[in-house]
Amino acid sequence: MSDNHPHTPRGSGVSTLERELRYSLPAVDPEDVRARAADAAARLSERIASDGLADISYAPVDSPFGTLHAAMTRRGLVRLAFPEESVESVLEALARQLSPRIVESPASLDPVKRELDEYFAGRRRTFEVKLDWALIAPFGRRVLRMTAAIPYGGHLSYAEVAAEAGSPRGARAAGNALGANPIPIVIPCHRVLRSGGALGGYGGGLDRKRYLLELEGALAPRLR
């Protein structure tokens, strides 16, 4: 039988045998390996998340801004990244700051995805998903807790947020804390404006801040 096979090594050279061993995995072509490995890995990641073995689960979430990436711990949503942030850098920072046990698990992020969908569709005014404040430093925590209390459609000034956070002269520091918000949209830092009503700044870009404020009816839509 071996005589009529094209790969039969003559003279039993080791090199031929080694070449066969290297390249002849039975009935498995590279495309098949790729597909099956990807499928097995996807099932594994979901299993790891549902068994509670992951410290952090993440998933892409569609939005009017493009694909966001949401990450949550056992405590709650810990990070929401805008499309321009690369997934790799977001995950690496989370691995460094919290834990490297991070898996992609769309199922775990389903509630977050659903609430964001409803919010962007104008059907949700408050988020119910729990938050994990682990990435936020103490001062930022005070500022962002005040921010989280600003109702849908409302707004405060940087100075007001700073004062409420116990730092009446810290408008700039408050601005920095808002700019470092790891969970934008859900912690509505877009609801903090300049005292005169100017938009101020936004980590995700002013167009997005304007979009969110218009969505919430806090800002009249500009003529286009």
């Binding site: 039988m1 071996s2 096979h5 790969h7 039969t8 090594p9 039993s12 080791v14 045998l17 080694e18 066969e20 061993l21 290297r22 002849s24 995995l25 039975p26 009935a27 498995v28 390996v33 790729r34 099956r36 490995a37 990807a38 097995a40 890995a41 099932r43 594994l44 990641s45 299993r47 790891i48 073995l53 992951a54 993440y58 790799e88 995950l91 690496e92 989370l94 691995a95 460094r96 700051q97 919290l98 834990s99 490297p100 046990r101 991070i102 898996v103 992609e104």
Partner: protein, 222 residues
């Protein structure tokens, strides 16, 4: 040259190895960190697990298909990465993650072989090779054990591709030889890492590889 592929000596020698999936010193941190790591991992931690999984899933899958066949590859794959996940935060960024995960996969594959030996299940899922088995028997090699050996199916199956014959022969090798061959040619690991994976000296790993190749050459190139 051992003639019993699943001989007790081979198995018990492996049993004597620590069974944990903990990182072997060679593959793990080059400079072991003293003291427990704070809950906030330092900059020397491993990459996000998902990145590690994505980077190595195909190599591990290939390795497992070659080691245990397709039917068992998926279970082994899951167990391999679950074990890796448990040990994961203790790793350092300079660990050789590929060699490490293939080491774990190698242990999981051994578990499958032990299970098969215990239950005398068929070694490979590919239907039997009538002439190959006969040829082996004629050369004094152990006849392949087929759990479903009712006899009739074997003769009627079409002649398998040479590749399948080769890989069945690989599956028939004694544990250490099979491990060395698969780690080398599918895992593409250097002798040093093969030795660390099997838990033997580099010289012994070289020898096992050589013995495995010798056996294979005798079996498939006559």
């Amino acid at each position: 040259m051992p003639v019993n592929p699943r001989g007790l000596t081979t198995t018990s020698r492996f049993r004597a190895q620590p069974r944990s999936t903990a990182v072997s010193p060679k593959l793990a941190a080059q400079s072991p960190r003293s003291g427990p790591r704070a809950s906030v991992a330092g900059p020397a931690g491993p990459p996000p697990f998902q990145c590690f999984l994505d980077a190595h899933r195909e190599d591990v899958w290939r390795f497992l298909v070659a080691s245990v066949g397709r039917e068992d590859a998926d279970d082994c794959f899951q167990e391999t990465f679950i074990a890796a996940l448990r040990a994961y935060p203790r790793l350092r960024v300079d660990s050789n993650l590929r060699a490490w995960v293939l080491t774990i996969a190698h242990r999981k594959a051994l578990d499958v072989y032990r299970g098969r030996a215990r239950w005398a299940l068929p070694v490979a899922e590919i239907a039997a090779v009538a002439d190959g088995a006969a040829g082996q028997a004629a050369r004094g090699m152990p006849t392949r054990r087929r759990g479903n050996a009712s006899g009739d199916g074997e003769g009627s199956s079409s002649v398998p591709a040479r590749d399948e014959t080769l890989w069945e022969a690989v599956h028939e090798l004694p544990d250490r030889q099979r491990s060395a061959v698969v780690l080398r040619f599918v895992g593409d690991l250097p002798h040093r890492d093969i030795a660390a994976a099997i838990g033997c000296s580099e010289e012994a790993a070289r020898r096992s590889l050589h013995e495995g190749l010798t056996t294979l050459r005798r079996e498939v190139t006559t």
